[in-house]
């Protein structure tokens, strides 16, 4: 146990150091790199506190996607005019107030009750009818399904918001610039070899999500990463945003989820209720389609607003 605590202590030091670096780094690029490190350390911490599903998500989203996106942004904005640093008084006040709020938060955490309240038992008790083995997936797709559904709508709105920044003339066009394919580039090789393996792994993570750590979002992230890799290697191009199949792909997941939910009114006596015996297949079906939608949305979010003329 002490050995474990020592490891935890080490991880906390690492996380704090990465956090400190993220805030204190001289340039944005350094800060973004530090943030990726922070995300990875956090992922390890999640493993330490018995939350492997969160660890996977943190690694994929927190460190991977968010980090990658911020690193990309920091290189793009390198030449941005730098604002003057906040004045000494501001900084001192900021330090004082942030520290006070953090102290309050710490105080609140220390004041959490014993024995702690928990829904773990309730979540396990409600799991058999869904046919799932992983209670986290149960929470995400059955008990609190509406959160998950709305979260997908949040993603779609973020995508719409990103697209809305395109100039009118380029509306409907392809995001990003065309990557040139270069047969000699190692990236091309990577783009050819890795995606098939990645897709298998992504689907595997989705599939095991029903019973073990993993699930739609983590799987979708890997698929999106593979797609992005192929795009970067110039093997495929990002589709034009006016493509009907693309739009369909984006809304298919939440759409199907919604339809299944509404069908619950008829067949299971309630919105987002699953008919007994069909719960697991339905949930898996929803998850598969969600994974595809998530992959598409993530790719498009990474690709940004349309930058090329729409197809005629």
């Amino acid at each position: 146990m002490t050995m474990g605590l020592l490891l935890d202590f080490f991880l906390v030091i690492l996380a704090l150091a990465a956090g400190w670096w993220t805030i204190g780094a001289k340039d944005s690029f350094g800060a973004a790199v530090a943030f990726v490190a922070y995300g990875l350390v956090l992922a390890l911490i999640w493993v330490r506190i018995a939350a492997p599903d969160v660890a996977l998500t943190e690694a994929a989203i927190g460190a991977g996607l968010t980090g990658g996106m911020l690193i990309g942004a920091s290189t793009r904005l390198e030449s941005a005019k730098q604002a003057t640093r906040a004045g000494g008084v501001t900084r001192r006040l900021a330090i004082a107030l942030s520290a006070l709020v953090a102290a309050a938060l710490a105080l609140a955490v220390l004041g959490l009750p014993h024995p702690p309240p928990s829904l773990a038992a309730a979540a396990m008790a409600a799991l058999p009818p869904t046919g799932l083995g992983n209670p986290v997936t149960g929470v995400l797709l059955a008990y609190r399904a509406v959160d998950t559904l709305l979260e997908k709508v949040v993603l779609i709105l973020a995508l719409l918001g990103t697209w809305s920044l395109a100039p009118d003339r380029l509306w409907g066009g392809r995001p990003g610039r065309k990557e040139r394919r270069n047969a000699a580039s190692p990236l091309t090789l990577l783009g050819q070899v890795l995606p098939p393996i990645g897709i298998v792994i992504g689907l595997h993570i989705l599939w095991v999500g029903a019973n073990e750590p993993g699930g739609a979002f983590q799987g979708g992230t890997i698929l999106a990463a593979m797609w992005m890799l192929a795009v970067m290697a110039g093997l495929v191009d990002v589709p034009a945003i006016s493509r009907t199949w693309l739009r369909l792909l984006v809304v298919a997941g939440p759409g199907l989820f919604l339809i299944v939910g509404l069908a619950g009114f008829v067949v299971a006596g309630g919105f987002l209720a699953y008919p007994p015996g069909f719960a697991k297949p339905l949930i898996l079906l929803v998850e598969v389609v969600l994974t595809l939608s998530v992959a598409a949305i993530l790719l498009l979010l990474l690709a940004g607003p349309p930058e090329r003329e729409p197809p005629r």
């Binding site: 906040a86 501001t90 006040l93 900021a94 107030l97 942030s98 006070l100 709020v101 309050a104």
Partner: protein
């Protein structure tokens, strides 16, 4: 049946106002202006006193009732509205009035009628707002720089008055836990906020009746408004404040402090109005200062009534006010009519106008003399009564000055309109003479003969004579009189402007600071900590 007239009286103008949004109807607007006040007049004549109508709609029931003071003021106001309406459309020489004019006129009329019959606070407040705010659209009708300046001042004071009243009414309603004026008033003497309530109500209504120093809006407004508008505003609309004080001051209860304070302010205003008025040039401005003075007398009477717990003051004041409605309305129209006459025929206007004007000073046998007689009892014979007599002398002085200016400055208004303009004016002038005689017994319970008694005649004559003497004196010192701008104290506003600008600039500087990200976000953190602290401290 006759009670339905009580509903029709405010409803007809409102309905017509809404209907006038439809353009073709506005072609007949002139007729509408004359027609709209007719139910109110009928109601004043035929509806039984103490009849109550309650409409049970909405959040609060709307209650209308008619008592003697209300009926008197309602009737004469309706008459003035008819006459002024006729004047307004005759003056346009057959051209249609603008939509803004018609709608604002009708809305103001609706409010003007409503305040006299409203028996609950909600509908009274509503009517009071109607009589105050849409009138802004009438004040600025001439669309001149002067009109807009006056309009801005007018609306500022109207809104200020409304807001004071809102809080006053809220206090009153809280005291009585009822929205009926009668119930709320009955509870007022026991209210813990009695002083505050009275102060707010007097200040709010004082704004309307131009109680010093809240009078500054009145001269520029009347000066800038078209003749017919000035007539209804000075005659009818101002009486919303009078009826407000009648309705909301607990006149049956002895409240010496408040009453005497009100009386003192009122009497001061009665002289102050004259003092500034005699330095003015324009007849409309002089009439405005006369209103300041006359309303001061009314406030004094109410104050004495309040101090003595004299419930009869209400009727006396209403009678005094009714007389003022007709006279002041007729005098404003006279300014307009005078402008249409050539200098040689001017006497046809001047003579009747002079009689009416001197009536305000209490010339024997006029309505003014009757009015002064009616309030004499309330004022008493002491120093207050004496001061009231002296104020009559002062009024005479001011009115002689008015007639003088009226004769000396024909064509002060543009001389549109023909001879037929005189018709509504003459009608009103005749009413101003006759109606006080009709109402006198109703108001005082006494006989008309009392007014014909030589003692009474002398009592009202000597102030007039003194006033005439003062007028001669004034002519002697004409050149040496100081000149005050319209709205006298308003000139102090120019010192307030830079202060207001400084507040604005300071706020903009503050905003520039607050809209900086670090400032706002630090404040957010501070707020979070304070909120947490605020919850924990109390634990």
């Amino acid at each position: 049946m006759s009670e339905s007239l009580l509903v029709a009286a405010p409803a007809l103008p409102l309905v017509l106002a809404v209907a006038c949004l439809w353009r073709p109807l506005r072609e007949w607007a002139g007729g509408l202006l004359i027609l709209a006040p007719v139910p109110a007049l009928a109601a004043a004549l035929v509806v039984r006193r103490s009849s109550v109508v309650t409409l049970q709609h909405g959040l609060v029931p709307i209650t209308f009732a008619l008592d003697v003071p209300g009926a008197m003021l309602l009737g004469v106001s309706a008459l003035l509205w008819i006459a002024a309406g006729a004047y307004a459309c005759l003056r346009r020489c057959g051209q249609p009035l603008g939509g803004q004019a018609v709608v604002c006129w009708l809305l103001t009329l609706c409010g003007s009628v409503g305040v006299f019959i409203a028996a609950d606070m909600a509908s009274f407040f509503m009517a009071y707002a109607l009589v105050s705010l849409p009138a802004w659209g009438l004040v600025v009708l001439d669309d001149t720089e002067r009109a807009h300046r006056a309009g801005a001042i007018y609306v500022a004071f109207a809104v200020l008055g409304e807001t004071l009243l809102l809080i006053g009414f809220a206090l009153l309603a809280a005291a009585g836990d009822s929205l009926l004026i009668r119930d709320a008033l009955a509870a007022l003497p026991h209210s813990p906020w009695r002083g505050m309530t009275l102060a707010l109500l007097i200040a709010g209504f004082g704004m309307k009746i131009a109680l010093i120093p809240l009078h500054v809006w009145m001269p520029p407004t009347y000066r800038a408004a078209p003749i017919s508008v000035a007539a209804v505003l000075s005659g009818a609309a101002v009486k919303a404040g009078v009826i407000g004080l009648i309705r909301f001051l607990p006149l049956g209860t002895v409240l010496p402090g408040a009453g005497e304070a009100l009386a003192a302010v009122g009497l001061f205003g009665a002289f102050y109005g004259v003092a500034i008025g005699v330095t003015q040039e324009h007849p409309k401005t002089i009439l405005a200062y006369s209103s300041v003075s006359q309303m001061g007398v009314i406030a004094a009477v109410l104050g004495m009534g309040l101090g003595a717990g004299d419930g009869g003051a209400a009727t006396a004041v209403a009678f005094y006010g009714a007389q003022h409605v007709l006279v002041k309305g007729a005098l404003f129209l006279a300014v307009g009519v005078a402008a249409t006459n050539s200098r040689r025929q001017l006497w046809r206007v001047i003579v009747p106008a002079a009689v009416l004007a001197l009536g305000l000073g209490g010339l024997p046998l006029t309505g003014g003399a009757l009015a002064k007689l009616a309030v004499k009892g309330v004022l008493g014979g002491g120093i207050v009564g004496m001061l009231a007599n002296l104020s009559a002398a002062a009024s005479t002085l001011l009115m002689i000055h008015f007639v003088h200016r009226l004769a000396g400055s024909s064509a002060v208004e543009d001389a549109a309109g023909g001879r037929e303009l005189a018709l509504p004016w003459l009608l009103l002038a005749a009413a101003a003479v006759a109606i006080p005689w009709l109402l006198f017994p109703l108001a005082t319970g006494g006989s008309r003969l009392a007014a014909l008694h030589p003692v009474s005649i002398w009592a009202s004559l000597w102030p007039v004579l003194i006033g005439a003497g003062l007028a001669l004196l004034r002519r002697q010192f004409e050149r040496r009189l100081p000149r005050f701008p319209e709205g006298d104290l308003l000139a102090l506003g120019k010192y307030a402007m830079p202060a207001a600008m400084r507040i604005g600039e300071a706020s903009e500087r503050l905003e520039a600071g607050l809209s900086r990200w670090p400032v706002a976000s630090l404040l957010l953190l501070a707020a979070a900590l304070l909120l947490g602290g605020g919850i924990l401290i109390a634990r």
